[in-house]
């Protein structure tokens, strides 16, 4: 009977609006990893509340975890279930941390597979397990393909090609020392690696899905000066962060705050206000507001009760798409007549008072619904794939860093090559295994080798 030497981890609950996410870990390292995360010897089969601390010691979330020793676990090996908030940002952090601690992302259906192989299921279930693996892997593949068809796939391909080029140079020197090759140019190799490192890092930081998950949904608050944008932000955040002023146009720089709306992480951005005839100082702020709107996932358009919509050029209105715009009528504590707005159809409207808190709950509910629509990527596999990608990219960076420092320290080429091969394998985890033949193709295309 196979005994597994590695420990696997994955999100077990489907994502979406559920408030709690369940992450499962199984394998010989489960007890050690759990102990290290929560700083205590995990008691068996008892749900325990503790802070989830990542490798760097930072608290990611307060979580509930239950440790199951092999004898009584679903998979037949040591296992732990960690429940944390169902926010994709937190889930991703937790998975990334588990990978950093040596766990590996579970393959589709792998928990069930282990349960079966460890004798936890009877024979009649084997075919059901095979079907499940089949179905899950198809779904995971579809999700991965969807992600790779976009810019990510193309960019990783570009990084891979460049890396193969660098590696081919180094390997040519190693494998064909007696050839009449151009002299080894370590300095340009190091520079090329440094550029690759910067681009890999940028990819890790700017990939849109990664950003949604890491940074939350960009929610930009716009409206006329004095409509109560800053007050609304403060109300949503729950403390005074933005400067609230009776003098119009006080908020010139952007204030950003992160909040949770149900399971979703939101990044609220307060803007200066949309004033068609601003003074010199405000002008800059207004331009910036337009820029912010362009990069928004969700726009809260704030108007004062009884006031008209801000006077904007025709082109600006195109930004207010129904799927991502919410009209917030503020200052409803005042008794003023309600105006009718001619807005694109389908933009929901909520009436609130930032001052008294009236209607804020309804507003948040509406934001949760819209955030859910924005994060359509809400299948279980998606988060896993995404966390896996991030994990692969950070491994890629580790390899590049190590190679660059070997080069700088006059290290042996074989070690530089070993580090770069680690990076190649990491890119390969995203775009599919990269065969050594591809490196040889580049090598023979570039250099005249052979006697």
């Amino acid at each position: 009977m196979p005994r597994f030497t590695d420990t696997i981890a994955a999100l077990a609950t489907a994502r979406g609006t559920s408030a709690i996410a369940l992450i499962r870990v199984s394998g010989p390292e489960a007890a050690r990893v759990t102990g290290a995360i929560f700083g205590l010897v995990p008691p068996a089969r008892r749900a325990t509340h503790a802070d989830y601390r990542d490798l760097a010691g930072a608290t990611i979330d307060d979580a509930l975890f239950t440790f199951f020793p092999a004898a009584g676990s679903y998979t037949g090996e040591d296992a732990v279930e960690i429940s944390c908030h169902g926010n994709p940002f937190i889930v991703q952090k937790v998975l990334e941390d588990l990978f950093a601690r040596g766990c590996r992302a579970a393959q589709p259906g792998e928990f069930t597979q282990r349960a079966f192989l460890n004798g936890r299921m009877d024979l009649s279930q084997a075919e059901a397990v095979a079907d499940l693996i089949h179905a899950r892997s198809d779904r995971a593949l579809a999700a991965a393909n969807q992600l790779l068809r976009g810019g990510l796939g193309r960019r990783i391909q570009d990084l891979t090609d460049r890396l193969l080029g660098i590696l081919a140079q180094i390997e040519a020197q190693i494998d064909f020392p007696e050839e009449d090759l151009p002299a080894e140019d370590r300095e340009s190799a190091r520079k090329a690696i440094t550029r690759l490192l910067a681009d890999t890092n940028r990819l890790l930081a700017t990939s849109h899905y990664g950003e949604l998950l890491r940074e939350g949904i960009r929610t930009v608050i716009v409206g006329a000066p004095n409509a109560g944008k800053s007050s609304l932000l403060n109300r949503l955040v729950g403390h005074e962060r933005a400067i609230v002023s009776e003098e119009p146009g006080t908020t010139r720089d952007f204030i950003e705050e992160r909040i949770m709306a149900g399971p979703h992480g939101l990044r609220l951005v307060d803007t200066a206000g949309l004033n068609p005839t601003p003074g010199a100082v405000e002008k800059l702020g207004v331009e910036k507001s337009h820029a912010q709107m362009a990069g928004a996932d969700l726009i809260l358009l704030v108007v004062e009760l009884g006031a008209p919509l801000p006077d904007l050029p025709e082109s600006a209105w195109s930004r207010f798409k129904p799927s991502r715009t919410l009209l917030v009528v503020n200052k409803c504590d005042l008794s003023r007549p309600q105006l009718d707005y001619s807005l694109p159809e389908g933009i929901p409207m909520v009436q609130v008072s930032a001052k008294t808190g009236l209607g804020i709950e309804t507003l948040v509910e509406q934001m949760i619904i819209m955030a859910g629509q924005i994060q359509t990527i809400d299948s279980e596999d998606f988060t896993v794939i995404n966390a896996r990608h991030a994990d692969a990219l950070s491994h890629a960076m580790a390899g590049l860093n190590a190679a660059a420092s070997q080069l700088a320290a006059n290290g042996h080429s074989e070690l530089v090559a070993s580090d770069l091969r680690g990076t190649l394998a990491a890119y390969g985890e995203i775009v599919g295994r990269i065969d050594n033949e591809q490196m040889l193709d580049q090598l023979f295309a570039k250099f005249c080798i052979g006697k």
Partner: protein
Amino acid sequence: MGASTLLLTGNIDTIAQMSCNPAIGGQAKGQMVREIDALGGEMAVNADVTAIQFRLLNESKGAAVQSPRAQCDKKAYQFRLKHTLELQANLQVFQATVTGLIFKESKVIGCHTNLDIDFIGQTVIVTTGTFLRGLMHIGQNKNEGGRLGDFSAKSLSASFLEAGIKLERLKTGTPPRLSGRSIDFSKMVEQKGDANPTFFAFYDTREESPLFHVEQTGERRLGWAPGTEQVSCWMTHTSPETAKIVRSNLSKSAMYSGEIQGVGPRYCPSIEDKFVRFADKPRHLLFLEPEGRSTNEYYVNGLSTSLPFDVQVDMVRSVPGLEHALLLRPAYAVEYDFAHPTQLFPTLESKKVENLFFAGQINGTSGYEEAAGQGLVAGVNAVNKMRGTPPMLLRRHEGYLGVLIDDLVTKGTNEPYRMFTSRAEHRLLFNHGSAELRLIEHSKAHGLLSPARIRNIEAKREQITYWIEFLETNRTKNGSWADHIRREQHEKAALPEAFIRESSAVRDEVLYRVRYQGYLAREQRQIAKFADIEKIRLSPTLDYLSIRGLRRESALKLAEAKPMTLAQASRISGVNPADISILMVMLSSKDKQGD
């Protein structure tokens, strides 16, 4: 292993004749020769004894990729090996050309020869090299033969086709040979051998005389000995005139006129290829390498071609130092049949015909070391097959021979396959000095080395373990000895007295493992990841198409490839991790049913 063996060859005098350059070793190949020695093969000693120049390549690029290389005396190499075969117990050598195989049902039981003598055997190993329908080209001139001056095995191919074994054509080439008398060496750069040669064989663990050149026995007198000068090689290069001659005669080249159908290796281009594909490179390096001590024949490394003879003469004479060169033998290209190695199990036994093994160039490889390694594996496994004992399966992380065989049987090849260090993902583990340590379990399991040598290797392994432990745990100033060694970039690190007195084989290996500790540990972690599925054996008769949940295209690929382990299955292109998971589940459910 003691099995009674018959060696049939078309010509006894050409046993171990090197068709091309008489050089053994070099990148990755040098490490392979040491692995062959670790598995009881003859190549290492034979090369050491008959070498006329030794060089260790890649000294500056790290210990794992350092490779010993030797220029050998072509005739001495060949005759010494022939004599070794004559002395080998249980081996009979006989001169005859094999014309066909004898099959019974789906098994091979022997062969026919041109002398109308049939031979019957329990297993048959085919090592026809470049001889299967060998066709040589010099411009438009064509001659049948596997090698200049040799025959072509024509009827044997039909036997393979009859058995359903697929054949295809490959091509390789060789440069002209020149008379040393006609070469002006004063225009060339001399390349000397190393003052302290690195030998291929592991003399420190042999029970016989540790260094052959210290106690020269009669048999070994042929070789290099201290005080004997090594022979030099010479470097020169093509001239603009060479380029002009090649370019204006391209249409006469067998390769460029479409005469040749076989695919040639990318790493061994003809001079035509070099000037066409790398048109901006003004000149190409050439090496003049002596073919032996008692001959004046020189090999022009770098000038492989299939141009007509008259063009060859002009081309050679356009090279600085070769203005008056006399050609002894022309350059030529040779085309031959090979059998796709994906038709083999990792034991090198045919999937189609039981008891039939293939080794060497017929499997699509090129090179003496690649051929020798396969011959060894096929030989060991033929005996195991006959006796019903477990096969010798070399794994990818155990050495270049493991990589070689796995690449061949799992991926196959479209060009003559040559080993490169970059083909090995665990290259860092394959430093040449560790070959014996990596392969000892195989040598032990299959009785490939004498008990005394096994004991010596194990003792060496213990010494190494002891010293690593010692250096890691004992302190000197600023931490352990090991830390100290890792901090010091070069050989400068001060070391404990007793350690310095150790043999250099032990010392080098200890220092290597201490220095590279972090990298080696990473390699081990990666190997451990696959250890689980490496252990799971798959039966060649498994019916993949009936396995529920397996994608049809994967099932077809698996049925065709018949992998022997789950790990091998996972390396077949198009088979994904989910397929492996499903296989695992279904296999173990079969096991359970059997219980």
